[in-house]
């Protein structure tokens, strides 16, 4: 075989096939969730399914464009792309369009574009660039700070757009940092913080404070190294302060709908009548989506046959709640299939990342996996009621042009980088 024909086969076809399955199956479900009546005109661009078909075809062009650029381009211009992306988000505060309380879109003609969807790829490139610098070591506090600043800028900008869910996605980079040498104390810190917060809300600040103190003291006494009394006591103090601060933060910082979601998730409300009312009113979406999923049973009601989908019982079903359509119409067989495809895709990306010879490609691949995983975890967890409601889309699956393109760019830059790993420069 000549070198020329061989080129095409260097792309990782497994990843591409998994991507195509998700996009194709996703579109089928968008069609089901958004069609009205019995007539379906696939090219009706006023309907979500028609628009999504258009977005998908444009995505194919986008893929060709991404794959035809040199790998070096992404390495060289990563900083520029990052800055451009940040500027585009700042621009929202001047030219943005407000939809549903979030100022996250540019209106261009009849279309809207959401720059935060593209910022993920840009940030991943910037992080890859930063960490692959030979001078950088994440054990070094200064470098840690720089890395955290890179992810904090987009996160803050998105938070200011009033899109909390999308901002949270940047937390996923902690996995990347850890892989690249971030001391594990950060992971422990993050985990303890979450645990103390949840515990303080659920069991009260005093109980949490006492339990935390006991655990830390036990650890302090039983460990073999020379005890550092000052360190131990400062940790205990921090835990106590946090425990008592949680209530104040919960009451004063969070918005009402966020409080309700958390309160319901942690079962903070005791009155069953009130809980029921909350379930029906505040978490109407979740209530209906869980019902739709469980009504699907083992094999589902059949494609385009879901009664709750047809009746549009689940609001936003074609976007954030698309997984409930799968659940109702395809049953457990369908949902398990989607979960497995996602897991395969994520593991494949991780596996490929570990194979990379350049650190840039590895960090980037890891970032892709982490971001996709975070979306997958939050979206499906939310739709099933395992995680409090946070509105972020299911990659490749949910309706939305910006989202689809953002994820496609994210994934295919990695496929391009991966195709180059043999003839490293």
């Amino acid at each position: 075989m000549t070198r020329e024909t061989n080129r095409h086969f260097k792309f990782d076809w497994i990843t591409i096939v998994l991507f195509l399955i998700l996009v194709g199956f996703g579109w089928m479900n968008i069609l089901s969730a958004s069609h009205i009546g019995d007539t379906i005109d696939y090219l009706d661009f006023t309907q979500p399914y028609g628009k999504q078909l258009l977005f998908i075809s444009l995505t194919l062009l986008l893929i060709i464009l991404i794959l035809s650029l040199e790998s070096k381009f992404y390495v060289r211009f990563s900083s520029v792309l990052y800055i451009l992306s940040m500027v585009s988000m700042v621009g929202l505060f001047l030219f943005g369009k407000n939809v549903n309380g979030a100022t996250a879109w540019y209106g261009i003609g009849g279309m809207t574009i959401q720059p935060s969807e593209f910022a993920k790829a840009a940030t991943a490139l910037a992080i890859a660039k930063h960490l692959s610098d030979l001078q950088i070591d994440l054990k070094n506090f200064k470098d840690q700070i720089k890395a955290f600043i890179i992810i904090s800028i987009p996160a803050l900008l998105i938070l200011l757009q009033n899109d909390t869910g999308s901002a949270l996605v940047y937390a996923a980079f902690i996995f990347v940092f850890y892989r690249e040498g971030l001391p594990k104390v950060y992971l422990i810190l993050g985990f303890s913080l979450t645990l103390i917060t949840m515990s303080a809300l659920k069991f009260g600040d005093v109980t949490t404070g006492i339990v935390a103190t006991v655990i830390i003291l036990t650890y302090h006494i039983t460990r073999r190294k020379k005890p550092q009394i000052l360190k131990t006591f400062s940790i205990i103090l921090a835990c106590l302060v946090l425990s008592f601060a949680v209530e104040f933060l919960y009451e004063n910082i969070l918005q009402i709908h966020q409080k309700d979601r958390i309160s319901l998730w942690l079962r903070l409300e005791k009155d069953p009548a009130k809980i029921q009312e909350m379930q029906r009113d505040i978490l109407y979406n979740l209530y209906e989506s869980e019902k739709a999923i469980s009504s699907g049973g083992l094999t589902g009601k059949g494609y385009l046959q879901g009664t709750r989908t047809t009746g549009k019982f689940v609001p936003e079903q074609h976007t954030d709640y698309i997984f409930s359509t799968v659940g109702e119409e395809w049953g457990f067989v369908g949902t398990a299939f989607v979960v497995i495809i996602f897991i395969l895709l994520l593991l494949r990306i991780l596996h490929l990342s570990e194979l990379q010879k350049s650190q840039f490609s590895r960090v980037y691949g890891y970032s892709v996996a982490a971001i996709l995983f975070f979306h997958f975890l939050i979206n499906i967890g939310m739709v099933m009621g395992l995680i409090p409601t946070i509105g972020i889309p299911l990659p490749f699956f949910s309706y939305g042009g910006s989202g689809l393109w953002g994820f496609t760019i994210l994934l295919f830059i990695f496929i391009k980088l991966d195709s180059n790993r043999i003839n490293e420069w």
Binding site: G181, I293, S294, G297, L298, G327, A336, F373, M384
Partner: protein, 642 residues
Amino acid sequence: MRQFLLFFIIILVGITFIGRLFYLQVYSAEGHNILDDNAIRKVYDYPKRGFVYDRNKKLLVGNQPSYDVMVIPQEVKPLDTLEFCSLLKITKDQFKKTYKRAYNYSPRLPYVFLAHLSKEDYAVLQEKMRKYEGFYIQKRLLRDYQTSVAANVLGFIAEATPSQIASNPYYIMGDLIGKQGVELSYEEELRGIKGIKFIQKDRFNRDIGPYQNGEFDTIPQQGKDITITIDRTLQEYGELLMTNKRGGIVALEPKTGEILALVSAPSYDPNLLVGRKRSENYTKLYRDSIHLPLIDKSLLRVHEPGSPFKAIVALTALQEGVITPQTSLFCSGVYLYGRRGKMGCHCGGGNRDLILGISKSCNSYFANAYRKSLDIVSNSSKSMDIWSNHVKSFGLGEFLGTDLPIGKKGNIPDGAYYDKWYPDFKWVGSTVLSNAIGQGEILVTPIHLANMTAAIANRGFYYTPHIIKHIQGKEIDSKYTTPNYTTIDKKHFEPVIQGLFNVYENNGTAQHLKVPGIEICGKTGTSENFAIIEGKRTQLTDHSLFIAFAPKDDPKIAIAVFVENGYFGSRYAGRIASLMIEKYLKDEVSRTDLENWILTYSLEHEYQKPFSGKPFKINRQGGQETVSPEELKILKDKLKEI
């Protein structure tokens, strides 16, 4: 380690998700049932309930439309209660109360908010109904009775009770179900199968079209029309004759076991249990503890059969060979037995053979025959078993197995029964002598007696009495077309039937009731009865009983009449039996004197006695009471209409 953390977490999350999905969709899922899916509106289409015809194809029960206001509380939006209440003609309190009840029943299931709107109210309401979300009008068919009689046979329909709904998934709240009579017995045939339309709703509860193009919709299956064996004219006539009397008449066609008339008195007009006043009327009928109009006396009134039972005693004795038709006995007006036993006899005394014994209703003759029957084997208990089996072969002492939903067993004692009564005492025939004349422990209902008469008329077999004659497109149960044979040989019936025939002849107990041109065989009965009044066992006026069949050689009707406290057999029951037979066989009544007598006299005064709290006289001293001339005129007008 660092490179495996995310791998590990991803796999863990994948397993957790699949586990949770399995729990949601497979483990805890109840499976999708469109009937329970609240995304699908179910619109029921009720079929026509089957019509009921009498044996001559005269319509007895048809249908009429009715409109119910239904509510699904979950779907109710705030509304102008004041206007709504004025449309429904109810008060606001009633509205609140009913709504609360509906909500407690179930927030998501339909509940009957107001039943049976009049056509006028419906017309006004229908136009404004769409303003009231969660409320809708359900059209139903109510029964439309073409007759004011036979309520006990026809029964009625009413809303299914919560327990009926729970036990049978076919019914939902507000559905009508047969509660008594043929409406209950033939509920499945009559009701048909309701049709369901499934309509897809959206989350604002708006209809957005048929669910899956109506693939699951069913069209209603019409109820089947049924023809019952009742002869409407005879039934109406019987009920008229029983006005102001209490008791029952059962007329059968011996050749088929078909019930020609099943009269229970006092009864009620079936039209009372239709429409909006239904529950009010029902309560009134239910609480009438003197007349018990809802109790079917022809099927449920257990009593001692009295003298008609002597025919069975005779047949048993003949079959066992303890007497022959020629066996004779001299009656001295009293039958002496044991050391001090005495049984009175009203036959007038003299030499009695079997035929005379029956026609004169001689107690002594049958006491003798009965005692001999209990001596056939040395052990009275075993003899009693043999005797008991013969008697039971006439359908006595057991449920008859009619296709009416109610019935009583009555009682025919056997050896074990008395062994239990007299554990330390060697009892013999004379110990239980009352059975010989149909008193003592023998208990029957009027339908038992009529069936026994039919078996005698058929000379040894009977068909299980039944009310169904024909079901549209379906065979009737073969149980009703298979004869049941008695244990008595055919040859023994002729002398007994001759005796029964002579009851109407010279010196017989019913000689004055003869109907010209019809050979009737009959038997009077007068049974003593007692009531406990203020703790004391008090004798009341005897019950009047009569059994008969005609014509003698080709029986077309067998009848049993039971009139409570009517005194001797031929006084009320005999007259009524003769009139019924003439009416059925000839269509015209020549014995208008009997007719007048029956309509003129009332027994209400007898029924008041036990409740009056005063001492009273019975039987001949009990006195006669006539109805007022106005009432008599009304009754006679009714008579002309039949």
